[in-house]
Symmetry: C2
């Protein structure tokens, strides 16, 4: 970990070489490999903005359990790729970005030559399977394109993608028989019974179609595919690896080992052989569908009609360039440019498009639905993304955000629980993490006027979700005002987050003139007071009998009552009423001292060693940036009357927690939340409490920025006298008029205009 002083020194020595030229493509600043080492859990492969296909190399996959026990190493492979690995197993088509639990990894392809090997082999002995050694020297990763040399057989693999189709180009240097392995057993987070069923057909025209059904993080999940090769298959075959094969039926009348066009079973690996000339390439296109193989073929034919790999790559790069150009920045620091556009890239990966080109998708009821008037999205890590990611979309991607909300409302309509999504992916609710922060996303959009959906129905869905008594201690919360720890664990975290969500619902109700709801939920939103223990000075778990839990250690990350945070961090989670929090904690002076302690206390290196989803780098003092509950905390200095400390710490966090290197992310990127935090803070403001129409002003890290709004207007940001040490904001002008309350209104951004920061190396407070 970099200390405070060292980091400043380092900053001062950075060679100032780079600025954005009109000629330089923004995509050239994106480093998909950033965050692929350790705990970033991002993937380096080819994908389009919010694309359904994430075609990326998997360097390993580890069983979820070893000898009946959870295998902690599985966690490293949430996105399938670890930078320190020496081998690549193959290229699969679906990956989460930055999650702390996982799934996916569907339909792995791997080109090989020589003797056919159908098992992946081991990292230590790659020669025992189809995997290959590779080197980062022979690796190129840009958002829409990935290239690597597979050293074992000197095969070059290139990947690109459209929204729903992955395209591969494999170059075989030596002529002769070449294999393309199609591993339909491969997957991320594999359990013994994860592979429920696989069905593969070789169609009459040589297309390969089928589906894979899994029981993983998503319990009842089916992904359909359609695949084509650029040259005729010479021969093909498959092998079943089913755990039980009690009944084989009457299939014995065929020789099934070769060229048998219908394969099915729990666990299947297939292979396709081609005669290739020396240096010949074989291209593969594989389309996904949430609906059917028919849908996959439609997607395939619609998105990539021909075999022009370079054209697909160029179109993908153009799509990314357009996406990145929503914000152009100026910085004399190359790392800032790289970090910023890498963050822009990471904040445009999830949720992913989840419908065929004709608008059909599978719903939570496993029926096929038509998305009328919106694009349906899947894979919502809402506990993370409600904080900064969705607010960022309300500025940069209002239509996408409204479509995502439409998708969440469709989920609600299909839900037998009558709940909005908690953590949902691929027509499943996986119930991961706590709260129901869909309501925050919806309220934020309503309050900010980005509600191209039926806002009143959306509010009804929020209220129904917030009244679901059977959900995770919520009945107790409704009755008592807090979640008792003896009834439901992580009770402090739940109580605090429910209270914030209550406030968000109330804000939407206020906007929609639903007074009864406003009053009901404003009252509930004060429930954070129920877990405040004046005796300890922390938010603390209570029992059903009203007593606070005994044996309380506010530093312990094992302390009952919290999840992904300790009492120090979580006690500050009242984003919607910092004034009340400050008052509870004894007023501004004591509160500021408390915040100072949080950021500066010295904890032993091993203190967070057992916290699996952040690295030691994800921590500053006892401030945990690698987990989300503290993401608003730096702004509490401002609320307590010390904005210069906000400015100081925001800049330190930006510098400290985000680096342009494979190990540059201090924790899981969490589906864009960590990156959205970076983008907001780099621009100089942050949505402390989504559901509010205003942002708190921090300290910008760029020299200039220009936000191209969907309404055609431009919002410009200029940081005068910007430098690594000039972190303090002396003055802020909006369209020439000073801002005195450290608040920026969303409407001011939408109106276009200019925000000017005047930076200094000294603060005036």
């Amino acid at each position: 970990m970099l200390t405070y002083k060292k980091s400043f020194l380092l900053f001062a020595f950075v060679v100032l070489v780079s600025i954005v030229h009109a000629q330089t493509k923004l995509i050239s600043y994106v480093r998909p490999l950033t965050g692929t080492a350790r705990m970033g859990h991002v993937f380096p492969g080819a994908t389009l903005p919010f694309g359904a296909v994430q075609l990326s190399p998997d360097t390993d996959t580890i069983p979820y359990e070893m000898n009946g026990k959870y295998n902690p190493d599985v966690y490293k492979y949430c996105a399938g790729y670890q930078y320190s690995d020496k081998t690549i197993v193959g290229f699969s088509h679906t990956h989460f970005s930055g999650t702390g639990h996982s799934d996916l990894g569907d339909f792995l392809l791997m080109p090989t030559t020589g003797e056919l090997q159908l098992n992946p082999g081991t990292a230590d002995h790659p020669e025992t399977g189809y995997r290959s050694v590779f080197s980062h020297e022979n690796e190129v990763a840009t958002p829409a394109y990935y290239k690597v040399k597979l050293d074992d057989q000197n095969i070059t693999a290139e990947l690109t993608a459209t929204t729903r189709v992955g395209m591969h180009r494999y170059r075989f240097p030596a002529g002769g028989p070449a294999h393309i392995i199609f591993d339909a057993m491969h997957g991320i987070y594999n359990y013994d019974d994860k592979n429920v069923w696989t069905f593969i057909r070789v169609e009459k025209d040589g297309s390969i179609t089928g589906f894979r059904q899994t029981n993983g993080w998503a319990r009842t999940r089916t992904v359909y595919f359609a695949m084509r090769f650029s040259k005729p298959i010479k021969e093909y075959g498959f092998r079943k690896y089913d755990p039980v094969q009690a009944y084989r039926g009457f299939w014995g009348k065929f020789k099934q080992d070769k060229n048998f066009p219908e394969m099915a079973g729990h666990c299947i690996r297939a292979w396709f052989d081609f005669d290739v000339a020396a240096n010949e390439t074989v291209e593969v296109k594989l389309a996904l569908s949430p609906v059917s193989t028919e849908g996959a073929l439609l997607n395939l034919n619609t998105e990539i009609a021909g075999w022009d790999f370079d054209a697909v790559k160029a179109a993908g790069e153009a799509a990314w360039e357009k996406e990145l150009a929503k914000v152009t920045i100026k910085s004399s620091n190359q790392a800032t440019l790289e970090n910023f556009y890498t963050a822009m890239y990471h904040a445009a990966l999830m949720p992913t498009v989840y419908m065929d080109v004709d608008g059909r998708y599978k719903g939570l009821d496993q029926n096929i639905h038509q998305a009328n008037g919106f694009t349906n999205y899947s894979s919502y890590s809402l506990w993370d993304t409600y904080r900064a990611f969705h607010p960022l979309l309300n500025i940069l991607q209002p239509q996408r955000n409204a479509d995502m909300i439409q998708s969440m409302l469709a989920h609600y309509n299909q839900s037998v629980h009558q709940m909005l999504p908690v953590w949902s992916h691929y027509a499943n609710e996986n119930w991961c993490m706590i709260g129901y922060h869909s309501v925050s996303v919806i309220a934020d959009a309503i309050v900010k006027g980005n509600a191209s959906f039926d806002a009143n129905k959306a509010l009804d869905a929020c209220v129904a979700t917030a009244m679901h008594r059977n959900y995770d201690g919520l009945g107790e919360y409704i009755d008592r005002g807090y979640v008792p720890e003896d009834k439901s664990s992580s009770s402090v975290s739940k109580t605090l987050e429910y209270a914030y969500d209550d406030w968000a619902i109330a804000q939407a109700a206020l906007k929609l003139n639903r007074t009864d709801i406003y009053e009901q939920f404003m009252k509930r939103s004060q429930n954070f007071r129920q877990v405040w223990n004046p005796a300890t000075g922390f938010m603390q778990a209570r029992m059903s009998d009203g007593s606070f839990i005994k044996d309380f250690d506010p530093l312990s990350t094992h302390q009952k009552g919290y999840i992904e945070g300790n009492a120090w961090n979580y006690s500050l989670y009242v984003p919607h009423d910092p004034a009340a929090l400050i008052s509870l904690m004894g007023g501004k002076k004591i509160f500021l001292r408390h915040l100072d302690s949080l950021f500066t206390m010295h904890l032993p290196d091993e203190f967070f060693a057992h916290t699996e989803d952040i690295t030691r780098d994800g921590i500053i003092g006892n401030y945990v940036h690698g987990n989300e509950p503290s993401h608003h905390v730096a702004y509490l200095f401002t609320a307590a009357g010390a904005p210069y400390k906000t400015q100081e710490w925001v800049r330190k966090i930006l510098l400290n927690q985000y680096k342009s290197a494979p190990d540059g992310l201090g924790g899981n990127d969490d589906c864009g939340q960590m990156s959205a935090w970076y983008i907001f803070n780099s621009l100089g403001f942050y949505p402390v409490a989504p559901g509010s129409s205003s942002y708190a002003i921090g300290s910008p890290a760029i020299e200039e920025a220009s936000i191209q709004l969907d309404n055609g207007k431009t919002f410009s940001i200029v940081a005068h006298n910007q430098s690594p040490v000039n972190v303090y904001v002396k003055k802020v002008l909006l369209n020439g008029k000073p801002i005195s309350n450290w608040q920026l209104e969303h409407s001011s951004i939408l109106a276009g205009g200019k925000l000017e920061f005047f930076m200094s190396n000294r603060h005036s407070n």
Copy 2:
């Protein structure tokens, strides 16, 4: 087994009491319990003609394997019900009729009271589970209705059905808490990994929806359902019985044991509780769909809108009455009436409707298709049914038969094998038995002018199927003219059936003026000669080197070369060219002596003991009626110039092999083939070689019959001087003109008119 003389005596003593009155409903003659003992493999429950739902009691289900070995007892439960059993496990919604291998048994319901038991218990100790003792005294079975008293708790269960919906009425004599068990693990022919996945939702309106995916005889099979109860559910729950539960996800935030509305897993049993008053009934409606739960709800709402069980039952009975009334017969023998209408019922159960009310169905490619202009059917046991069942439909149900052919052509279009169905069910090809007798069904319809489909395309599909070199020895057959036993087992049976199918294709080609195909396949149709061994006088297996197989025992049912028949029976399988067969066998005199031997030879009782799909009763001498390859054999007497022997033996088979009693069927009913044989022969004629436009005349067993044709005409049959001993036909008049060649043309039937038989107790030959 009844001997020849005893049977005549018995016949003479039958009290002649019954004739058909206009007032007597034909349905009253149907005995659904006939064939439920031993090897008939029919089910006694409620269904409609060709209905998608077969709602029937299961008296047991046995695992397919015990200790890793095939469990022969599983065979008894092909239709879920054995008459000799003392307990009923419950009522499931899908059953095959008369098959010799099995599947299905989906969605078992069972009403219970008292302590909740979620496992079925054992037959010996029914008190250990939810099953109940029952008695045939308290059992009523008619085609559209089934009723039984469940003795353990004195609950009366009644079942009825529409095409796609099963309806239950349970009467609970004592008030209090009542359970309805919903066992989604229950199934017929269960393997260790048969239950692939089950998904159940309790919808907001109290409907239960979901699906069950199995890996059985059908490899990739999903059945969707929607269920409603007549009164509100008090509470409900489920239990998982998954073999492996490596990963449980984040579902712990709910109490899932009770009232949790989304259940999923490999193996699930659920329960629904109701508060009932004494003698209160609870009704249940459960609809099936091949498409989705949405489709199941559509079927449910369309077919049974309300809760009038008696009205559904009455409509079902009316549907059956209409079906049965296609043939009205007159007989002074009650058993004949019962046998005939039971046969008519059994010949109207399969194939089953396989589409939603809106025409959507799942195809072989697992995509959803729309049946345009036809009703889609599933479950084709074609090796059996091409012989007499489909020819019967060409008379009684021409539109259904044409629709079934349309369904087979849809299957062909969806097949990656580019083959017509062999044995297909529920969007799967299970490849059971030999040949590809779809081509016979199609050829028969084309030749008989019942081709309301594209006949030329259908012929192309037949040719493509017959040219599929990878299929079951067919490549060898094409190259050599026979299937070598060392390349593909059952080689004689295959060679003979391929040769017959070749002839059928040729007949269709002739009708369609496709001369090249006609010539090609007429040549192939002579391939039966290739396996004729003049040295032994039997059709005998040959090796690749051309030699006949050594160690030949023509009586042995273990002899290599045959399936479901020995050399004695199979050597007569040249239905399309009896003259050539007779010539090969040494001329008419020797041939007739051979046939006499077949019917009269004495074999020890245990000879056929190991033949699992026929009972000892299914045999007369060495003539095996319980398996299909001999079904045309009695007519070979006529071909050899001794029609009186055909007449004599046909009447003996009718009397001997079909009885109106639970053990009244001499073998599996085979999806209506055995029953169709009964109907044709009772009426006095039989389709010896489907694909021919003519029938061979036999000896009618009724006094009068009237066939109501779809074209509005009536074809009447009168047997003058009919009696149990007057089995010989002295003379036959068609519309007053004598028939001298013992042939009846299909066109003569379609034209309407009158066929008169003049019966005698003496023959003139």
